[in-house]
Subunit: 436 residues, 2 copies
């Protein structure tokens, strides 16, 4: 029986330094749980002068990746540099050399997860990635193990803290998008190029990982419909409030008659839904299983220590497998490779949803009847309408909530409506979910 | 390699029938995840005519416990009859015969957990008990595995759905306790003898299990201070509202300078705290770890399918251990037996808390100064006061929130105050938590 487990860490950025910090301060505690200590054998990092806790000798810092991937003292390789290359080559290299891998790299898993899962299974090593989704929330473990008795029916996730922080600022303080974005950049929540966060791409990466393990299907990341928050106006947030809804960037997945809905977009969700109460940089996933019913998992989605908490939990899990000889105990994709079934992901045109529309129309008689007429022709029925202000002959907002309709019909109806001479701006459309 | 895992189920009550139901309807799905099928070998039940799903042959029903505990086709024994005896003997018997055990029996674990943990470890079998706390919420897995990198700092749990349903009814509809209790009995949430639920005993059972695994210490169940909800009046709920608090029956545990606070009692918690939004029969645990920060785990705490979801997840976990030869991979008490440390549980007198007081006093001059004088002498400082109504010479409520104070001082102060001639009823005291 091994008397310690060697860990090699690639990258000493935010997550990497969180991992090192936790392994130092909670090393004793972890040893009491695991039975043997986790020992950091090597850290690969370009900048050899990065700050380190005093317990860690500088001698374990190196720029040479082989000192991790080919180091016999390293049992588990922790990849926390993020991005596609060289992360992917490093991971594949580590796997080839029989190392187990723990990663927090959602972008890489979303795009190349299948190759990595297969490589790990083929080589008989573990590949764990709790840190890739929702930081410290043990959501991957919950889906793969805690809810393993369930047929997962739906998931609604706030999985990107930056965009949730921006939307929360807009909601609570009436700020515009640009203002709120700048504030989140000042606070270090958003990067200088915030595209991945605000355009929903990061959320889509995470959703593709969750869909994969929840439904047992490979997912082509490009098939996940993705819409960000940069088009959200404080107007829409305040009208939503009048209908008792909040606007959130949700990652949504549902099982629909053997196919999958998987989409990321701003969504109106009822005020009294638990996920609507998740504010600021917090993350949460609301999952419904056929047996368990609705559940919620909530916590910090980012930051050195929360993400480090997930990565170190994975290290402990893999270490237990090493100690017990139970590598491969949980298949990376949750379902046994041979038992996965490719399920079709519905195109956005095929989905059914309720909708919020904000029309900008000339304040003239018969405008509402023209618009509702076109909606009716496309089988879209109106649930409620607010007409704001009066400005005869001027532009006024006309706000509407619909019942369930087919997205394809909604798109054609809006195209037709936006061509009307009485409609003076492109109509804003936001999908509405009850979250059940 | 085994080509199936045999399961023996003791008890076909609510949880047992949920387990059978899930194993039937999701058998294929579970097999896709696990690799081999779970097969119900035998069901022990006094009433041989209980309804069974059509897939299950009546021949597997028996009244003879040995057909499970001594059956070579049974790998995992599922104990879901609850209570102390014969459940404990059955479990010990199964362990002696080398069977792995999955149980949802919180009362038994709270009282005899140590003996059971030791018996299982000694015999080298697994003992899993996710179903014992918070039904379908995978909270035990979260603490033992998902948050294993963390030093747990505090837990606030709504872990008893019946009492939460009653309090929710009282809060939302202004009902009295007796009314709300009768309604919950009518709906089947409360049993005809509701003592365990309403007096906080069930919650204390669950808290003792959580404290044990979170802090790595054996817990003497009797040391957990327990106070139920039968003394809560709609008055207190409505005064709490005026201070922006909700009343909830919370199971609270905190690490305090190497000792443990562990207590169950009605608690005022701020309206905007996530745990305050957990209503009806739902359960939730708000756990803070030093690395992950605050997290919340939410779901249904009871019912055939939610509880069944947890039990079947355990069966799958143990089955994975059987298939991989990794029995004992996670120690039952989360920490390795030799690394557990008995921690002292603080007596209720020693805790520090904020307090809500409702005095019933004669409406006379200088009453407030008499009361606040006594509080001051006991080092209890007042945060805010509401005096309700005026009824010269009659009884009026005087409601107060304090800053942090030592419970021992509070008790002596209240004793003294209740002896004042101007105080006409025993004072109501409810502890207040900010939940951080």
């Amino acid at each position: 029986m091994k008397d310690k487990i060697g860990v090699g860490i690639i990258g000493l950025g935010t997550v990497g330094s969180g991992v090192v910090d936790i392994l130092c301060r909670n090393g004793d505690l972890i040893k009491r749980r695991l039975g043997v200590p986790l020992k950091i054998a090597k850290i690969v990092e370009r900048d050899l002068n990065r700050p380190l806790p005093p317990e860690i000798s500088r001698e374990i810092m190196t720029r040479d990746i082989k000192e991790i991937t080919e180091n016999p003292d390293v049992d588990i390789v922790v990849e926390v540099i993020g991005g596609f290359e060289p992360a992917e080559s490093y991971i594949l290299n580590a796997i080839e050399n029989g190392k187990h891998v723990v990663t927090a790299n959602k972008a890489l898993l979303a795009v190349s997860g299948e190759e990595l899962y297969r490589a790990a299974s083929r080589r008989g090593v573990d590949l764990y990635f709790e840190g890739s989704v929702c930081g410290g929330i043990p959501i991957i473990k919950a889906i793969r193990e805690g809810l393993a008795a369930n047929r997962i029916e739906s998931m609604y996730g706030i999985v990107n803290g930056t965009s949730n922080f921006i939307i929360t600022k807009m909601t609570e303080e009436g700020k515009g998008f640009e203002d709120a974005l700048r504030e989140s950049q000042k606070l270090g929540y958003a990067e200088s190029d915030p595209t991945f966060d605000i355009e929903g791409i990061d959320a889509a990466h995470k959703l593709s990982i969750l869909v994969n393990i929840a439904f047992g299907t490979p997912v082509d990341f490009k098939e996940i419909y993705t819409e960000g928050i940069s088009g959200i106006s404080p107007l829409d947030i305040s009208y939503a409030k009048e209908f008792n809804y909040k606007v959130k960037l949700l990652a949504i997945a549902k099982m629909k008659a053997g196919s999958i809905e998987a989409r990321v977009h701003p969504t109106l969700i009822p005020n009294n839904h638990l996920i609507a109460t998740v504010d600021g940089v917090f993350n949460a996933v609301y999952i419904t299983g056929d047996a368990v019913g609705p559940t919620l998992f909530y916590g910090k989605g980012a930051g050195a220590l929360p993400a480090g908490s997930a990565v170190v939990a994975d290290i402990i899990d893999v270490a237990r497998n090493i100690l017990k000889g139970s590598i491969g105990r949980i298949p990376p994709a949750s379902f046994k490779e041979e038992n996965r079934m490719p399920l079709r992901i519905l195109s956005i045109d095929e989905i059914e949803s309720m909708y919020y529309f904000r029309f900008t129309v000339l304040d003239m008689p018969r405008v509402l009847s023209r618009i509702s007429g076109i909606l009716g022709e496309h089988e879209i029925s109106i649930a409620s309408v607010i007409q704001k202000g009066r400005k005869e002959g001027g532009n006024v907002p006309l706000v509407m909530m619909t019942h369930e309709a087919v997205e394809k019909n909604v798109r054609s109806a809006l195209q037709e409506i936006d061509r009307l001479p009485v409609v003076s701006e492109k109509t804003t459309m936001i999908r509405v979910e009850e979250g059940r």
